[in-house]
Amino acid sequence: MIINFKGNETYIGTGGRSLDSNKSTICFLHGSGQNHLSFVQQARFFAFKGYSVIVPDMPGHGFSKGEPLKSIKDNANWVYELLVELEVQKLVVVGHSQGCLVGLELNRLYPEFLKGIIFVAGSNEIPVNQFLLDLAKEDSQKASKMMVTWGHGIDGDMSTNNWPGHSHYGEGNNIMNMNSADALQHDLHSCNNYSDGVEASKKINIPSLAILAKNDQMTPLKSGLKFVDLIKNCETHILDCGHFLQSERPKELNSIINSYLTKLQ
């Protein structure tokens, strides 16, 4: 659905079902240079399982208009205000990559707001090398292509896909190309400049879940494991795939999230 939020047309994926405040709400937060389509196999799955699902396209991403936000804190505040506008409370946030930093920051700034937090391919810090930062500014399509290649495990290379006929690389490149040209550079700078991750991780006192990837080249497993050590009692799973667990291992990921949500209720 499209709403007017903070003066801009803003797209919110709902997994093909209407929002319903009587149901438990899950909000999915996409990663750098991504949009709601990176959760295509989670949004419909949980919407049809009886949850109210919110997958916003951040400003300048996917179908949302507006200037891309320039820090993780700005992203967290924007998400908070959006959820308040939608009259959602006590929800579970699922972040992927940069979306994990946004979720962390959201919980740090508004500690009573969330009921649970899930990190997919997450860390408390996502440093970005200067080469990629520069390339994202000069040629965002080329930078996107490199990220799509690095981001996938063997299923990307071999074009094998749980979704018949779909290509991880072809689809991934086109999802990133839907965003405004400067979205990626601001996202990557936001990740690189975020320094409150350790404090935010230690502050988590709600049930948390981390699903990490063995062959993640974007937020390496080593970094993810250090991150979950900072969180009190974080349930942790490791899947055999690359950074894009949502499309590389959708069934396993959904099953782990589903079990966590069931326990939470």
């Binding site: 419909r44 063997i154 062959n215 959708p250």
Partner: protein, 431 residues
């Protein structure tokens, strides 16, 4: 891990990793109609398109999916769908995008069945087409109307071998917000990948060079994922609510793969032109050697072009790699590896000479296919177009002396020797 494999490697591997249970190196043939659901919940999630998977082979099948994923990888597309023939692929695209009252702009120099579908069949369902010269970008632009939903052409026209200036036409289509759909059968992704030149959708007859052995009929739609279907008024079938699945908007839910999701949910579901798993396997075996075969096809074609161009019995030779071809410069630009392995040529002596030539060769097969590993020939004047006068054939861009040759992979000197037999018989006739 993140190797970004090259074309030759993808031809062999894309779409399949040996499964842990059996270790089968070849893609298994899943000769099944249906798949056991683990639970009612799993069944519901497949029907609702919540996650990927297989529920019935009319919609998808693991062997067919491996072929689809190989094609998507080779074309650099977002997604692909394989079906029962190239004509089924074209029909699926047209019916996914167009409804009654819509309009298509198409090349006037195409394969007869493509023209028949658009000129005679689709108008019965309220979808009309204007045919224009594919080499005239201005005419294409002028033919696009507010209700035009797609522009269609062949990269290499059949049988006239006209070359479409894809980058120029793609730029026009982008400006006009109309998808460019190309039949890329004659070039295959080895010779040219249309998405790199701005095209949006590719259709293939897999029966030809991709399969390459004349043993299985099949087709495919490959979706570039690079077209914005967001205009709900113009493209309601892709971005508006679909009648099933709770009024799903394919564009909002699947973005770059919206077209393939739509075709699978409606075209395959309602029309049912599915590809058999065994044929998918045969076609994939062909694709494994596509780079090797295309290289040899082109080598042999160039050698035969020299042979025919200098032969006293030959009246004329047409191929885009010859500098006498009107589209030679465009061909050099978009098909630098070569413009395919179809040659058309005329034999001195007209219709009768063509007939005698065809009946006198031994190695080359006289039949209606192209793109086989074996050399194939047909003489339209004495077969497909035998009912037409020489003047009527000329009006359709053909001549009664014309032979269509699909150059195969035999030793090129054996092909030449075989042709000499035909020319000898023609010489006798002309005496």
């Amino acid at each position: 891990m993140s190797e970004n494999y090259k074309f030759d490697t993808l031809s062999l591997h894309a779409g399949h990793i040996p499964d842990k249970e059996t270790g089968s190196r070849a893609v298994p043939i899943y000769q099944t109609t249906s798949y056991v659901f683990k639970s009612t919940e799993e069944a519901a999630s497949l029907y609702n398109m919540e996650v990927g998977g297989h529920l019935y082979t009319r919609i998808s099948n693991p062997t067919v999916a491996a072929l689809e994923q190989r094609l998507a990888a080779l074309e650099g597309g977002a997604s692909a769908l394989a079906c029962s023939s190239g004509m089924a692929a074209m029909h699926l695209v047209v019916t996914a995008i167009c409804s009654s009252g819509d309009h298509i702009v198409a090349s006037s120099k195409m394969y007869g069945a493509n023209i028949n579908l658009l000129q005679h069949t689709m108008p019965r369902f309220g979808i009309n087409t204007d045919f224009v010269n594919p080499n005239d970008p201005e005419a294409i632009e002028n033919a696009i109307k507010p209700n035009t939903k797609l522009v269609f052409g062949e990269v290499i026209g059949n049988p006239g071998l006209d070359i479409m200036d894809v980058p120029t036409i793609a730029e026009i289509c982008k400006r006009k917000n109309v998808p460019l759909v190309l039949d890329a059968t004659f070039n295959t992704p080895y010779l040219m990948q249309p998405f790199k030149h701005g095209a949006n959708i590719v259709v293939h007859s897999l029966t030809k060079w991709l399969g390459g052995h004349g043993i299985a009929i099949g087709g495919a739609v490959v979706n570039g994922g690079n077209f914005d279907w967001g205009d709900k008024e113009k493209y309601p079938t892709i971005s508006g609510p679909h009648f099933a699945l709770g009024g799903i908007s394919f564009w909002e839910e699947f973005g770059p793969s919206a077209l393939i999701a739509k075709i699978r949910a409606e075209g395959m579901y309602n029309f049912g032109p599915s590809l058999s798993p065994t044929n998918a396997f045969h076609l994939m075996q062909g694709i494994e050697t596509l780079p090797l075969r295309m290289k040899k096809h082109i080598e042999n074609t160039h050698s035969i072009l020299d042979f025919l161009s200098n032969h006293e019995a030959v009246a004329w030779v047409k191929h885009p790699d010859l500098d006498t071809h009107p589209d030679h410069e465009v061909a050099k630009k978009i098909l630098p590896k070569g413009s395919g392995s179809i040659i058309v040529f005329g034999i001195k002596g007209g219709r009768k000479a063509g007939q005698v030539f065809i009946e006198s060769v031994q190695l080359a097969s006289h039949l209606a296919n192209v793109g086989d590993a074996k050399t194939l020939l047909i003489h339209p004047g004495s077969t497909t177009h035998s009912h037409l006068s020489a003047d009527a054939m000329k009006e359709g861009g053909l001549t009664d002396d014309m032979i269509r040759l699909s150059v195969g992979l035999e030793d090129v000197n054996d092909i030449k020797k075989d042709f000499e037999k035909g020319f000898k018989a023609v010489k006798k006739l002309n005496k």
